[in-house]
Amino acid sequence: MNYTVVNRDLLVGDVKIISVSSSSLFLVGDAQSIILATAFDTPAESLVIGPFVPLSIS
């Protein structure tokens, strides 16, 4: 697939960001290739109600 991009004047005033988190990217410039991946898991077994049991000791 052929793809043409024409970049003309780009002027930005103020940028205010609270948080950039979990494999995010804030870029002022050009890029060739960006790959960002996040896996966030909170399965049912992640809520444990009962007596204190430690996780496996490493």
């Binding site: 697939m1 052929n2 793809y3 043409t4 991009v5 024409v6 970049n7 003309r8 004047d9 780009l10 002027l11 930005v12 005033g13 103020d14 940028v15 205010k16 960001i17 609270i18 948080s19 950039v20 988190s21 979990s22 494999s23 995010s24 990217l25 804030f26 870029l27 002022v28 410039g29 050009d30 890029a31 060739q32 290739s33 960006i34 790959i35 960002l36 991946a37 996040t38 896996a39 966030f40 898991d41 909170t42 992640s46 809520l47 444990v48 109600i49 009962g50 007596p51 204190f52 049991v53 430690p54 996780l55 496996s56 000791i57 490493s58």
Partner: protein
């Protein structure tokens, strides 16, 4: 490839943590990754050496990167600069990237698992019961 210049007058970041990057200037390749095992307990008992990443699927399953769709991309830069006056960021966390300038490739990976342990009706273990 001909790239543009990035001009930022003022950059204000409060905190950068957990394998995050703040890059000022051009870069060729950035790889950042983080694994987080977040354990929240009703009573704050932590043994220090607890938890193995291999025990959980979320840390071991590989990501399959998407294929590039644009084989031929022609870029015409009519203006040689990107200008930004002021950037204010409070937090940068978990393998995130703040980049002022041009970049070839960026790869960032985050894996997070949350575990919550509540005691129910049980009282916290006595000091000598702990390992």
């Amino acid at each position: 490839m001909y790239k543009r210049m990035s001009c930022v007058n003022n950059l204000d970041i409060v905190s950068i943590l957990f394998s995050s990057v703040c890059q000022i200037g051009d870069s060729s390749s950035i790889n950042s990754s983080v694994k987080v095992l977040a354990v929240q307990r009703e009573f704050p008992f932590f043994l220090g050496q607890e938890g193995k990443f291999e025990d959980y699927k979320v840390f071991t399953e590989p990501f399959t990167p998407p294929k590039h769709e644009f084989n031929k991309m022609l870029v015409i830069n009519e203006c040689p600069a990107i200008k930004v006056n002021h950037v204010k960021i409070i937090g940068v966390s978990s393998s995130s990237v703040i980049h002022i300038g041009s970049n070839e490739t960026t790869y960032a990976e985050t894996r997070v698992l949350n575990i919550r342990q509540l005691s129910g009706d049980h009282s916290p273990p006595a000091k000598d019961e702990r390992l």
